[in-house]
């Protein structure tokens, strides 16, 4: 099942704008390797879940996959064949707003070539270009 919040204060939100780059959440913090986005945009809960499934299936329950983003934002849509007006549509999807540089997923407990393949599979499920990064141990 796609990710979504358990409780929300407001059912619908405005679309908003994504300006700037990720100045937080842009380093590998939990695992050894991470998937960093090179674009800005929305990632739906379904896409995040698809990435997680792709990586865990590939890893055969070896190592660990960390998800660093969560879809907090509701996106509403009008039903098909509906005339315009009559108010805002119902929430249809939940998305995570990510900026360039955000680390989306992390993998730990596996070797580099395995992690690269797993993160590559996740990247193919993402709606923007991504790259693999390593944890910075020194300065």
């Amino acid at each position: 099942m796609a990710l979504m919040p358990k409780r929300v204060k407001w059912r619908k939100s405005q679309r908003g704008k994504l300006r700037g780059v990720a100045m937080r959440g842009n380093e590998v913090s939990y695992g050894e390797y991470g998937l960093q986005t090179l674009g800005t945009g929305w990632i739906t809960g379904r896409q995040i879940e698809a990435g997680r499934v792709a990586a865990t299936h590939f890893l055969h329950r070896e190592g660990r996959v960390y998800i660093r983003i969560f879809p907090h934002k509701p996106v509403s849509a009008k039903p098909l064949e509906t005339r315009m007006g009559k108010g805002k549509g119902d929430p249809e999807d939940w998305v995570a707003c990510v900026r360039e540089g955000q680390v989306l997923f992390e993998v730990g407990g596996v070797e580099e070539n395995v992690a690269r393949s797993a993160l590559g599979r996740i990247a193919s499920k993402m709606p923007m270009r991504c790259r693999m990064i390593r944890r910075r141990h020194g300065l």
Binding site: R7, R11, E62
Partner: protein, 217 residues
């Protein structure tokens, strides 16, 4: 690699705009502080610094206006992609004085426990050490090949060079081989045509408005 020598010049362009202009020309803005003296804004060649830091240098000799002094690299700020350094903090240091710094821990080897169905998890990515400024280890490389399922690597098991003291609690766990939890059955996907599950509303929920026909009445 502690005897790196770099050239630096005093910097007049300060602030976001000034620093940005310097970076466009391949110059890295930096600041020097410590030892009770006033802070100084300096700039140095970005490429030279990247090469030095890539070789694991933690202390550097900066030549400012012909006067050479030793400095400890306190912090390096990187851009949002983690590729280019954008600013460096140097601390005035005497190579024979003891300093406290954080040193990364990079695990080496594949543990036996992994082949027995466990997962290697690292809980501590860096440890705080106290040592001479000239003897700061670049990274600690504990070997974890002997770890089996349920075993842990604690701070007391880390091997450090002579003269280096780890300040963390010796009983802190650096890494462990964890057994896999039983897989949790994912909830079945909603059947098509059924109402999608919605999150719970926080706070007072306004009662639904009456239908339009009722309004007309």
């Amino acid at each position: 690699m502690s005897n790196v020598q770099l050239k630096a010049q005093p910097r007049k362009k300060v602030g976001t705009s000034g620093s940005r202009k310097l970076r466009e020309t391949g110059v890295l803005p930096a600041v020097i502080y410590g030892h009770g003296e006033p802070p100084e804004s300096v700039m140095l060649d970005e490429h030279e610094f990247v090469v030095a830091i890539g070789h694991g240098a933690r202390t550097m000799a900066l030549n400012i206006n012909g006067k050479e002094s030793q400095f400890l690299v306190k912090e390096v700020q990187y851009d949002h992609l983690g590729k280019r350094p954008i600013h460096v903090d140097f601390v005035r240091v005497d190579l024979t004085e003891k300093v406290r710094v954080k040193v990364g821990v990079e695990l080496r080897g594949v543990p036996i426990g992994v082949s027995h169905g466990g997962i290697l998890e690292q809980y501590l990515a860096a440890v705080e050490v106290e040592c001479l400024a000239m003897a700061i280890p670049e990274t600690l490389h504990p070997i974890v090949q002997h770890l089996d399922v349920g075993q842990v690597l604690a701070v007391r098991d880390l091997v450090v060079p002579e003269g280096v003291i780890i300040l963390n609690d010796p009983n802190d766990t650096v890494a462990a081989i964890r057994t896999l939890a039983e897989p949790v059955e994912a909830p079945a996907a909603a059947e098509p045509g059924t109402e999608p599950q919605l999150p719970e509303r926080i706070g007072r929920v306004r009662p639904e408005e009456p239908a339009e026909e009722e309004k007309k009445k």
